[in-house]
């Protein structure tokens, strides 16, 4: 009530009770006084409150601004609420001591890792200069350029990151030759794969894996003996002996000719893939699974895959390499001393190679040849007779002769020899195995010959003069026009061979038994008679 200032002219304090200003004056009061009154009023409004630090002037200005901005309906009815809201908003801000934490996005971490790739080693500059001539590092950017002419490849940035990542790999591992094999996509992450040949003498890791196996075998034998002694009432053990494991090929030959390193993204550490075993290749042919991107993920499938995703990846890499790595015919040749009957595994560059023109390379597929040995059905490149393996086994509980009779004689498997021409590749259902095309029709002088595989979609090769390369970008599966049918489970095993000794026969009926008894008695009676007769004779 009292306390708010003079608003109306009749109230004291407004200034009209002063001399010169009476409410009955018709004259306009002195403008200076009016201005003074206005200033007084404004000064009053600007007085800050002692309790909240706000002043009325600003508060009214905010309220009116808010009303004009939002233009609610029936403003006059909710004016008090609006005023309260404005005050409330101010209140919150002042008391808020929380601040937004600056988000460290994973983007920045990844950028850090990639940046590490760009760091140049400052320590061994002198050594690097000497070795530049023999560097195993491939020129990834050059290969990327040729593939780009055909529209295949990664973005330039990513190619460069891979280039640097390979450089890291060559500096860390003792590598003789190195090549960017390609990229396989996965569900959660992708794989970048490098094909590498290690310098000789770097294979000590393999021995470590075999030793624990032998110890394991020893333990089993001891345990078996103990068990046999203790419990002889156990049911008879099965006489089933699984066929022997076909041994994997030695490192450096056949399917294990190259060692593969993978990483998920350039900047992440390279992981070496284990060598591939024939069992894994045989199983990989029967299943079709997406890669998840984690090397330790289990592969759940039927038939059960012997290994985890790292082994499955390695098996698919082996199959793709065997099926799609090609080079211009004549680039590689057999060295003359090799005996071809052994299925020469080695080849060397032909110094007298004359590259055919690009047009020839596109028109006919006989200008291309495989330079990786194909994998036989057994899962190896060189056939091995499983029967010979039997003889080497130490656990011979059965006689060897029986087993050799039971096992069918296995035919020696042969595959197409090394350096077969592409024109002999079989197509699938009318589609040729390879499609060849020029990279550009408009500028034939600088065009590059590109072939893509139809059996392994994603495998490409280019050739231009003396330069050529292979690469793979894809999901890692073979093409099949029919839908995938999973392998059926094997038929139920027979427990024992049926024969007359164990076949059930019908129980004899009462009449048959009586007849049998009568017959027996008759026989016995006959014999007695004979004996009696003999006795009588005597």
């Amino acid at each position: 009530e009292r306390g708010h200032g003079p608003y109306q002219p009749h109230e004291p304090g407004y200034g009209l009770d002063q001399p010169e200003y009476s409410p009955y004056d018709d004259q306009i009061p002195d403008p200076k006084a009016r201005m003074l009154a206005i200033q007084n009023a404004k000064a009053y409004l600007l007085k800050t409150s002692t309790t909240s630090g706000l002043n009325l002037y600003d508060h009214l200005a905010n309220v009116l601004t808010k009303i004009l901005d939002e233009q609610p309906t029936n403003t006059v009815d909710i004016i008090e609420n609006i005023s309260k809201d404005v005050k409330w908003a101010r209140f919150q801000k002042k008391m808020d001591t929380l601040r937004d934490e600056y988000e460290i996005l994973p983007t920045f971490e990844a950028a850090e890792k990639c940046k590490a790739l760009f760091i140049k080693e400052t320590g061994e500059e002198g050594v690097i200069e000497e070795e530049i001539g023999q560097s195993p590092l491939p020129n990834v950017m050059e290969t990327a350029f040729y593939f780009e002419q055909a529209g295949i490849g990664l973005s330039k940035d990513e190619s460069y990151y891979i280039f640097l990542a390979l450089k890291n790999l060559t500096s860390v591992q003792p590598i003789q030759t190195c090549r960017f094999w390609g990229k396989i996509l996965g569900l959660e992450m992708n794989y970048i794969i490098a094909e590498v040949q290690l310098r000789e003498g770097e294979e000590e890791e393999e021995a470590g894996e075999e030793v624990p196996e032998e110890e394991g075998k020893g333990m089993d034998e001891v345990e078996e003996l103990e068990r046999e002694e203790k419990e002889k009432d156990e049911p008879p053990k099965s006489t089933y002996k699984p066929p022997p494991d076909i041994p994997k090929e030695a490192n450096g030959t056949g399917a294990n000719k190259y060692v593969y390193f993978v990483c998920n993204e350039p900047g992440k550490p390279w992981v070496k893939l284990p060598p591939v075993t024939p069992a894994q290749i045989v199983c990989a042919r029967k299943i079709k699974k997406f890669f998840t991107g984690r090397l330790d993920a289990p592969v759940v499938s039927f038939p059960p895959f012997p290994g985890n995703e790292a082994n499955y990846l390695r098996a698919q890499i082996a199959r793709i390499s065997a099926g799609t790595h090609v080079s211009p015919t004549g680039f590689y040749q057999f060295p003359e001393e090799e005996d071809e009957e052994e299925g020469g595994d080695t080849y060397e560059e032909n110094p007298e190679f004359e590259p055919p023109s690009v047009a020839e390379m596109v028109d006919s597929l006989s200008t291309w040849a495989h330079h990786v040995k194909s994998i036989l059905k057994q899962g190896r490149c060189v056939w091995i007779n499983p029967q010979k393996l039997e003889g080497k086994n130490e656990d011979e509980e059965e006689e060897e002769e029986e087993e050799e009779e039971e096992m069918d004689e296995q035919q020696e498997e042969t595959g197409p020899p090394l350096l077969t021409l592409l024109s002999e590749d079989e197509g699938i259902k009318g589609i040729p195995a390879w499609t060849a095309q020029h990279s550009t029709d408009l500028i034939p002088q600088h065009s590059v010959a590109i072939i893509q595989s139809n059996r392994w979609p994603g495998a490409y090769a280019f050739a231009s003069g003396r330069k050529f390369d292979n690469i793979y970008f894809g999901w890692g599966h073979k093409y099949s026009p029919e839908n995938y049918t999973p392998v059926l489970p094997p038929p139920v095993q027979e427990e024992y061979p049926s024969g007359p000794a164990i076949t059930e026969a019908k129980d004899p009926t009462l009449e048959e038994e009586l007849a049998f008894k009568a017959a027996q008695e008759a026989l016995a009676a006959d014999e007695e008679e004979e004996e009696e007769e003999q006795e009588e004779d005597d």
Binding site: G151, L185, L187, F290, L442, F473, N483
Partner: protein, 276 residues
Amino acid sequence: MEARSLPAALALVAGGGGVGLSPEKRAALGLSLPLLQRDYRFERVWFWGCVQGVRGAYYIAEGLRPDRAAPRIRLYSLNCLDWSLLTPATKEMVAQAEQLKGRFQGDPSFEYNFAEINPQAAEKLFESGKEPVIKEESRLIATIEQIDRAVGIVPRGAFVKTPLGPVHENRHFEGLSLVEAKKLSSYFHFTEPVNLKNKTLLEKANLDPSTDFLDSLEHDIPQGSWSVQLEKGGAVVVLRSLLWLGLTFYHVPMTKQYGYIYFGTGEKNMDLPFML
């Protein structure tokens, strides 16, 4: 994907698949797509992708009218320069094309003979007076329609539906945040919704009718048929369809850049349930 952002977008998509466009094709597209827009009076032109045949490839472009949800007009080309109009797909075409298996040949006038594939269907066709052949062009039309309907996706909020019906791009779309971008529910199929009506009332109450008028990817069958990957630590989110191998969708979070493109053989991956 949007024709104007094609070069930048291709760099983001190239991370997978490997197949892309050669510099020659890219240059050709940069010229011919604006000309298409002029000739057909499209508001927008999208480069849909490329279907690889055994002997050649088809490059597909789509033109959009002011109502983005209207059926898109499709054109194909063998060399990225000369474009031919494709007729809209009919249900018969789609049904017939579903029976064809194997790669595309690369020749639009190639005829598939039904008698070899499905004698019963061939007889039916004979009776109805049509020849039991199907041209590769029809197969192409049907395949593109299937792919678009099944796996053509856009981020949530990118398109907004006006009360009158037509669908427009949302000018206030600032991009999905990183957290949202990892979820499948933030992406919609850009076709007539199928599952929307089946949602419970509670779910429908939470939907915003202007932006949530399409099916999201959450309930796609089979589950897991999309592979979501964050490349470069989250700078780009890439979705790849596992049902139609070769369809890649990219989006840069917190920006307006997104798009999808198809580079593949045009075959459905029927082995998907075995491969997961």
